[in-house]
Amino acid sequence: MKIEGTQEVRAPRERVFQALLDPEVLQRCIPGCEKLEQTGDHAYAATLRAGVGSIKGVFTGQIKLEELQPPSHYRIVIDGKGQPGFLKGTGTLDLEEKDGQTMVSYAGDAQIGGTIAGVGQRMIQGAARMMVAQFFAAIEVEANHDPDEEPPKHGFVRTALRVTKRALQGSNAADQSAAEDVEGERKK
């Protein structure tokens, strides 16, 4: 499965790249990431509770960042498996500066196997896009966040709502503020 696209992240490029390298940030931003332990140079062991809606599964595996060219490029290699199947993929991220914002171009190829491949072909593409959107929305918040403060919490549902609306309908639907998004964290 090919995933590619361009995502506007409203933050300076250096900050965005920094966020994309920081394991703590990554753990907070990767949807469903429960654990991200460094195992080497830019190499991590990860546990993800990934999915959409009620469809969820736990995956464990490795994440590696390669071809680091700050602040414009890196390659990510993911290899994970779990009860619902396996996911193996590589992707490149290219960051471009544009009017003080950052345009992130991503292109990846993922190989999916097991139950999710066998029964989910109708939704896999959409689910992947949704998780990518959630990820970048969270990165945007992180990149705008004052590092001295408490780290932000990401309400994926709300940030996804905003990002999706922006993507689908252009400017006319950006009706919720970023602050509200952050507060959208599930009430515990």
Binding site: G51, V52, G53, S54, I55, K56, G57, Q83, P84, T115, I116, V119, G120, Q121, R122, M123, Q125, G126, A127, R129, M130, V157, A160, L161, T164, A167, L168, Q169, G170, R186, K187
Partner: protein, 285 residues
Amino acid sequence: MIPAQFDYVTPATLNEALALLAEHQDDAKILAGGHSLIPAMKLRLAMPQMLIDIGRIKDLAYINEEGSQLRIGAMTTHYQIESSARLKDLCPILPQAASTIGDVQVRNKGTIGGSLAHADPAADWPAVMLALQADIVVVGSSGERLIKADDFFVDMLTTALEPGEILREVRINIPTGNFGQAYAKAAQPASGFAVVGVAAHLTRDANGNCESASIGVTGVASKAYRATGVECALVGTTLDDAAIASAASHAADGVDLNGDLYASADYRRHLIQVYVRRAIAAAQQ
């Protein structure tokens, strides 16, 4: 196709159900027909530890008229909607769309509330709710709130329901004036889900021109959406073929379309226009 272990509870009241949901949070799922949830559980793609079956709660399955509104309880089955003579008079798109859902078994057990809360990107009800500009009533521990259909569908399998909330009712303004409505659908032959589903609700003014248009589209993207480009283009026209065709060309404006094994994104882009035209034409009959 053998689910993981789960507890099954049958609360007698909505408050009981809410309390259970509050207690078990993410570990619990509401069972409201189960025609999507149970298959996902059998595949172990969903493994809730508790199923809260709200099917035994009295007074969640109803079709009522209250003032200028129709109120449909969350546990009303597709078949009950399909076979409602009153709805055929008042809001014919509801029974008509219901009749296109799945097969007889699905319609007998599946519910409108379950379908909306699950928010399958190819489900039929979301398009209809969008076209009718329905209000969705959800109830949580802090009380009830109304969510507009436009705000309800967030993304694939994701709605504006907060954790701990249960969808209780759908409210639809009883259409008035010179209106027409229809649901047009291309069904996937295996699943019966919409490859494209278009719900159209139109009103005409005294001169016969299009006064308002509300178009919901499902099946083509990660969630159902309002085709606002089509709506804007229709209003003020005489709804002649040329106007409809021209408006329909905006049906996928700005939408990131899905492709799958059965239908590519390009084919869907084409089909949406066809089905928008057909839904509008049918709505005028």
